[in-house]
Every structure is written in C-alpha cells, then in structure tokens.
Symmetry: C2
Subunit: 306 residues, 2 copies
C-alpha cells in the first residue's frame, strides 16, 4: 500500500470482495460554523459521516482521501487539530489516510472526504432488497443531533444539561460494528444510514426497494429530556426524530423468520423495531393511537447525496 | 457495479491489480473564475486533472465520485453544462461517475473529484525509482497553460491568436495513453504528471527517488509564439515552461539501455528528452550555453497535493 507523496495511493485488491466508494462534503456556513465547532470535532465528524456510509453497506472501511480548502483567516493550529480529531477516529477503525489535496479557499472552509471500503460480495447490504412483511429496525435514539444543533444555534453557551445532544451533533458515532454484524450474519434485506432524518431515509429505502412502510410512532426511540430542556425546544420531540437529520443511526429491514436473531443491543447501542415494510410502493404511513397518517419525507435533503 | 443511489458505490476487484486513489479540488477564485471559464470546460477540467494523476501512475481510470458545493448565485443550467463537460471526457476514457455529494456553498463554488483507477501490480510507476544515469523525458510542450492563464487575466476577450493557449489551460488533456504505454512496456523507472511546473515536479520526483537531475534548457519543448503574442507576455518563455504549472504533461525517467525504445511521439504528442538523473540527492541543475545553474522548485505549489 503506497501512501501520500505520489500521484495516487495504491491499494491491494482482495478477491471475492467488492470495493465501496463514497464521498461527503462539509462546508462552513452550511454544515458547520467554526465559532461553535472545534477543529478537532470537525476532523472527527468529517470522517465519521463517511464511515457511516460504509456501515450502511455492511462494509469495512479501508482508507480515505481528504480535500480541504482553507480560507485566509483560518486560525493557526486549525489543520493540526483537525487532523488530530480525524486521526482519532481513523485509528479507532483502522482507516488509513492515503491522499489529499490541501488548497486555499477565498472565503469558506470546506472539507471533502472520500472513503474506500470493502465488503464480501455476497454480504453487501444496499437500500434495495426490503420485502413486504419485513420488520423495520433502527439503532440508537433519533433526534438527538437535531436537538443539539438547535440548542447550539439558539443558546450559544453549552450547559451540562445539553452537552450530550451537542456532542451527538458534533461527534457522531458511525455504527460500523452493527452494520457488519447484520451483513456478516445475513440478517437484513436492506439498510441505510439515517443522515437526512428517519422520514426521508425511510423513503430512500422504500424507493430503492420498491416497497412502502408503516411506522409506529410510539416505537420510535426518542431521547429522554429533562423538563427544563423540553421547554427550550421549538418543536415536539417526535419532529426531531422524524425530520431532524444527522443521526447517523442505521435503519434496516429484517425478514420475519430472522427477527428473533436481532439482539436488543450491540456494544451498548439499543436496537428497536419500529414498523413494517408493506407492498404499497413508496407510500409510508405513521401510526399514532391506532390512527394512520401519511408520512412524507420531511427531513432536510441537501439537494442530493449518495 | 452498483452506482449512484445508495450509500456507497460498489466496484468489483480484479486479482493482480492495485487500486489507485487520488483526489483534486478546484475552487472558484483560486483555481478558476466563473467569468472566464465555461461550466462545460470546468466539468472537463475537474475530471482531466484527476485522470492525469492516474496517467502518472501508468494506470487506467475506473470511476469517480464528485462533491460539488454550489453558491446561491450559481447560474441556472450550470450543473447540467458542468456534467456535460465531465461526461464528455468520462465517456472518452470509459470512466463511470458512481457517486457524489451536491450541496450548497455560501460563497464560492467548489468541486472535488476523487478518482479510482487500477494498474497491474508489477507495472505501476511511482515518483520513486529513478536512478542516476536515467534520462529524463517530458511529453508535449510546457508552459502553454500558464501562458493561457496569463492572457485570460490580462487580456479578457480571447482572440484567435491565443485561443490555443487558453484551451490548454481550461481543457487540459490527460496523457493516459502515454502513461499506459510506458508502464505496460516497462520503459520508465519513475513518473509524475507536471501540475505544479517542471521545476517543482522534477524536485518531487527527485525527492521520492533520492536522486538529483540536470536539465538542458535548450531541450525543453517550448510553444511557438507569434511575435505579436510574445510582446504580450510578462516573462521570458522559459519561465512559463519551468514554473508555470497546470501543464498536465508527463515527466519520466528511462534507463539508458531502454531509451531507444521511446518513440518520438505517441498519438501525435511529442516526447522529448530533456536531461539526466544524477546521484546528487534532491539537487537539480539547469544547463544553458554550457553554464550550470541551480534549478529550484519555482512552480506554484498550492500548499501540497498528492
């Protein structure tokens, strides 16, 4: 494996494996603000959101390239801290940084990470493959990142009370171990990571699988809030969980005969059944108190991403 | 091969081949100005500069991912024209666009392309490997792109007289066929693409190969200029060739016993011998009229790139 310092990085190929390639950009003023995010957390997040894409395919990450555009007013030490945060999560997951392009940017900082991963050819999980009757599961709790972002924007100084939510926004944890567990045991028929919000990503999965879905509202894992914190939020809790985005949890479908094999948690991360796949192509519903409402893709969708 | 629409693209691996991974960013206000570049040419160039990195390894391109950040004032139709230009060169070289991240950018347009290529493991050419006594070659002519850029900046309207130079800047041609010819026939010991200017990239090659070099000034292939055009330039012609940058030609080293196998041109692109590799580690000279001067890395170096 040849690394930084040549025109391209060279990587050995493994027979029987598929390569996975994905990229995600973070742009100052759109995805983050430097005044509320540390360079180190930003380095972590830049890689974490890409690792999450590999997790969603049931794959293992191999290496990344990083393009970064630095505006003239970039604080000294930014790059070093950024790479410290990035190295922290890279080391944790055995990912090598094999190349990059550092250039100046006239105004806004931007970061683009491209990740290369691999997965055994017959074990790969895609968004397509869910079948009517499959049960839908999500990992972790939903909405915490969006709550953290709102608190950051409206409150400024971070209190102990909501530190956890801000951290969930600024330092998300890719669910690689869960993704790999599901793919290697052949438990899921389709999987996606929840980056645009449950409602939007459920539609992405249904679209690719040519199915519909019914989600039970009471089953959606919501964060626990102190009553003081609840008073600070502008929307009902369920809105953050459905439409908040940037959870980087996994949403996956499991055939009925395999649901008993889904553990209630993996590495301390809870796994919850939240609904069912139906045959009504691309039409999703949400059930509350036995009443069925149409569920539309309401999460933010930064134009398009893959 | 799974394409856009999932969390990552999946690519089949081939035994005996190495994967090549490289990325290059283009930023508005740094690498291009929208008022002087068409969206279509920009799409072409965004991929061309990445293809050039694969050419420099003697490899073949497979697929790319593209991250693009669009400011609010992006002209309507920009994205469609950009992708038309990109598709044109992608189709020419059989490259698939397998993923991307399109997002908004507050101020400047940015484009980051990551390319995946491959090369037979034993045929790969890197910057390391040049040995004292090897002869140095370059493809094409040097300095045209830098001349084109200067004319664009100082003249505005493009006259027929210097259209060719502007085109060389805005629509560079990656030397994939030459790179592959050299690698598949085992003719070169080291290779690099000239993106930062001959003087800088010669140093990059010498650094990685632990060698030095002597270049003969009169052998450097310079563009032919009309006397009218010559009068418009701010510097001697040789300066553009040595330090101009963005030529995207190839610089490579050939052992003396193989120099007779180097054709004088491939696909209409001339190949010129320009000097010799020496044992004086990382020290480069340029000869003019039998006088030897130190040659320093004087090309622009946008911080670092690989």
């Amino acid at each position: 494996m040849l690394s930084i310092g040549d025109d391209a990085a060279a990587i050995r190929q493994r027979p029987g494996c598929l390569l996975l390639l994905s990229c995600d950009a973070l742009i100052e003023g759109i995805h983050f603000e430097l005044k509320s995010t540390s360079a180190k957390d930003l380095g972590w997040k830049a890689l974490a959101v890409n690792l999450s894409d590999i997790a969603a395919m049931g794959g293992e990450p191999l290496c990344v390239t990083i393009s970064i555009g630095l505006p003239p007013e970039t604080p000294p030490g930014f790059t070093a801290s950024f790479y410290r945060g990035l190295s922290e999560i890279a080391t944790k997951h055995g990912v090598a940084v094999v190349g990059g392009d550092t250039c100046s940017s006239p105004k806004n900082l931007f970061i683009d990470v491209t990740i290369l991963g691999e997965v055994k050819a017959r074990k790969m999980l895609t968004r397509a493959g869910a079948r009517p009757g499959d049960e839908l599961y999500v990992t972790g709790t939903l909405g915490e990142s969006a709550i953290g972002l709102e608190l950051l924007k409206t409150r400024g100084k971070i209190s102990q009370d909501y530190k956890h939510f801000v951290k969930r926004h600024q330092k998300p944890t890719p669910r690689l171990a869960i993704g790999k567990f599901l793919s290697s045991h052949g438990l899921a028929t389709a999987m996606i990571d929840i980056s645009d919000g449950l409602s939007t990503d459920l539609h992405h999965l249904c679209e690719q699988s040519n199915v519909g879905a019914v989600v039970e509202e009471f089953k959606i894992p919501l964060p626990r809030l102190t009553s003081g914190l609840k008073g600070l939020l502008s929307k009902p809790l369920i809105d953050y969980a459905l439409n908040g985005g940037e959870d980087y949890e996994l949403l996956f479908a499991v055939p009925p005969k395999k649901t008993h094999l889904i553990p209630s948690q993996i590495d301390g991360i809870a796994i919850h059944e939240v609904g069912k796949v139906t045959g009504r192509r691309e039409i999703c519903y949400i059930m509350r108190d036995n009443r069925k409402r149409r569920l539309y893709a309401g999460g933010f969708d930064h134009f398009s991403s893959s």
